[in-house]
Amino acid sequence: MNKEQIPKAFAELREILGDRATTSTVHRMAYSRDWSPRYREMDDLPDIVVIPNDTQEMVRITKVAYRHEVPLIPFAGGTGMGGGAVAWRGGIMVETKGLNRILEIDEHNMTAAVQSGITIEVLNRELARHKLWLPHQPESKRACTIGASIGCDNDSTFGIRYGKIRDCLLNAVIVTGRAEAIRVGQRKASFSSTGYKLLDLLVASEGTLGTITEATLRVVPLPDVREIRGYVCRRLNDTASGLERLLGSGLAIESAHANCRNRLHFYTHSYREKYGREPQFPEWADAILFLSFAGDKDIVDFNVERATRIMVDEFNAEPVAEQELVEGWWDSKHRLEFIPFKQKWPDSQRQKKFGAADLGLPIGRLEEGYRHYLEIAKKWDQEILGMTIYNESPNMATASISFAVFVDDSSQDRIRQFYQYVREMSEMAIQLDGTMSTYIGDGDRLGGFNQLEHGPGLKYMRRIKRAFDPKNIMNPGKKFQSRWIESPEG
């Protein structure tokens, strides 16, 4: 980017947006990070921050960026873990929270049309007045927006019943790198066999094709009752086979999360801290499976009873007796209703940062993946937090896995060590017939290195990028280059 263009671009943006465009260092500093691991002093300052209020303003902003060849980086919740929302190469940071309106709630067709900067929590608060909800629910939903969910293809707590954002997405408006606003998708229909599926391209595009400004989503009725249960299992594989069996039996499972023994110890530690007593887990406990069931009370009761019987009789599992532990886990996963002023960070997070490799593995290779995780984390001197398996496809056991570690962010070298851990874990995923990322995305970490996963396909991805963004102004660098991990060619 030619830095000389910045003042000219800014003058034009001021004309369009007035106070909603700034070059203030103070404001720019507030946009210098997302949630990705980086060393303590590191920051990436954009040159300009803008707040558009609608698609037309976004088109005008993009025209300015196009004319002056200045990067545009969409920013939403700022909770991404991949460095996708940082201005690695400077440019114009687009604060999408100005796009925060609900355009339509169509109860008859069960759809909601929104601007992309509305948070999932705010949208759901509004939908609840209509006894509806959007079941795409990442843990970051308080800050995470619809646009960010589409752009990052993040995880959803209720994936095993409703899938991820793509499963709810009917159409979207994107302002491409050519400064054209196009609506892609199938209006309010759920599918379409016409044309190419451009809507699919938007999912996980991380702002590299354009800025998403609007979306129409399929929503569903709010359930009356929800029950959460936990089961300790003898083997990690039992959580996946147990889940497959439960689904095969015809039970309706709303959410399913399996955790390794390290995570199990983490929960028992939290329980001990909070209640001052030891949970009664059997010696053999090696994994824990949390399930939720939702709907009418009698149906939910039946599901809970039958699921418990199958897990106990067929997999020698044991229901978690301490329901407070299960509810506490659910608080951290979904409700996010902590006691005011009593929230506490574990000491470990005051010193270190949460980081993860977010691999997808075939469900038969969980234990293999877990063994490699222990070895690779040790090799790169990463403190193990544990492994959580998310299930993100409707009605099937899948494995979107967070292999989490506590990252020492005290120096650049230590951060590089973390990314070496991510690199080797990603290689392992490919060797096990899996994928490098299932909910974080490429960001500024896997780009270029992801050729290992996509092979010649990456060349076609570059061509797609050029079709949408010929001047490479849309979040440049992301997806195709990494600042942390060398590409296979070096």
Binding site: R20, V26, M29, W35, E41, I51, T79, L336, Q343
Partner: protein, 358 residues
């Protein structure tokens, strides 16, 4: 009590920078109005890091942004860190950097010079037994004060009111720490006798300040009234209308007084309809943290959003018990009426009690 310097909060600031949950952001009334991340607590924590590492220096622009914080504490209710103390420390950095907003300095100098922030008007003398700290705002509002005193006396609560000096909250809140220390010193000398027994207060902000900064055994007078009503000492007549209750930040979130005002409203046979954001997660009226002094338009915008909360639950009367919240909300209700064609009245709980006890 001397406030800690910003560097002493480095661990908190770095913890926020590396965590970035954003729980503080969406509900922040200032962020909601302004939309730049910088106005949220999370954004300020990155600016705080810049100050600690000296990549950023205090500037009038930074002071302007920090001045827009209401210090309402909503972010801290969602957080494990010391957000309010950190923001006050950042404001203190602005004072030391010589870039703080002139109106704040003028206010603090006035308190140092005259002992109060607002001009006191004819404060009624009372020689009862229970010390009552009236506070600058009520001292400047004789009608409202007289009404509160009438209510207290009807409950056989006979206050002792004497000369007063300001608790100094605004000095602490706007970052004038040395000046606040001087005010504290003077306050302690003036009230050497206080602390032995319970002190009643009328202003939520003074309540929180006297408790937190001076360690005094304070009780907001509305709590004393609720206790008397509970003991059935005085019958109140039914007022019989629908209303909502707005929790003042310093009385509710900061001092934990949530149920007593609601109990009173029920005793007055008022059908209480809760706004979606209430109790710990109530949102500020827009008058907190000195914002009204530097940006009255922002203050009104935030207050209008709070009035909209009442409209959303279908009530047209907001009751509250704070001499800052009442006029701030009422002013916004008047402005909003022209926009949405609905006027929401704002009534003091003292006024309602006065009517019910006539």
């Amino acid at each position: 009590m001397k406030g800690k310097g910003l560097k002493e909060y480095a661990e908190d600031i770095y913890t926020c920078n590396r965590t970035r949950c954003g729980f503080c952001r969406e509900e922040c009334p200032v962020y909601h109005a302004k939309l730049y991340e910088t106005y949220s607590c999370r954004g300020k924590m990155l600016v705080g890091r810049g100050l600690i590492e000296e990549t950023l220096r205090p500037s009038s622009e930074m002071a302007e942004i920090l001045d827009r914080c209401l210090l309402c504490g909503l972010c801290q209710a969602r957080c494990a860190l010391h957000n309010l103390d950190i923001i006050a420390s950042m404001r203190s950095e602005m004072v030391h950097g010589g870039v703080s907003t002139p109106v704040h300095r003028e206010n603090v100098e006035k308190i140092l010079r005259e002992g109060y922030l607002l001009e006191p008007k004819a404060v009624p003398e009372r020689e009862g037994k229970i010390p009552l700290y009236v506070g600058c705002v009520y001292r400047s509002k004789p009608r409202e004060l007289a009404r509160a005193l009438t209510v207290l006396e009807r409950f056989d609560i006979h206050p002792l009111i004497g000369e007063e000096i300001c608790c100094g909250y605004i000095a602490e809140a706007t970052g004038f720490r040395e000046e606040f220390e001087a005010l504290q010193e003077r306050f302690r000398k003036t009230y050497r006798q206080l602390g032995a027994s319970e002190i009643l207060t009328l202003c939520p902000t003074c309540t929180a300040t006297l408790k937190e900064k001076y360690g005094l055994p304070v009780k907001h007078a509305i709590v004393a009234v609720a206790e008397r009503l509970r003991e059935n000492r005085r019958r109140a007549k039914s007022l019989g209308f629908r209303a909502t209750y707005h929790d003042p930040c310093h009385l509710g979130r900061m001092s934990g007084v949530f149920e007593e005002p609601r109990e009173i409203l029920r005793q007055l046979d008022i059908q209480l309809v809760e706004m979606e954001r209430n109790r710990y997660f109530s949102t500020c009226c827009g008058g907190g943290g000195g914002v009204n002094a530097v940006d009255p338009d922002l203050s009104v915008e935030i207050a209008k959003n709070r009035v909209r909360d009442a409209i959303d639950v279908g009530v047209d009367i907001i009751t509250t018990v704070c001499p800052t919240c009442e006029p701030t909300l009422l002013r916004a209700a008047g402005r909003l009426a022209g926009e949405v064609n609905t006027f929401v009245d704002v009534q003091s709980l003292w006024d309602l009690l006065d009517k019910a006890l006539e």
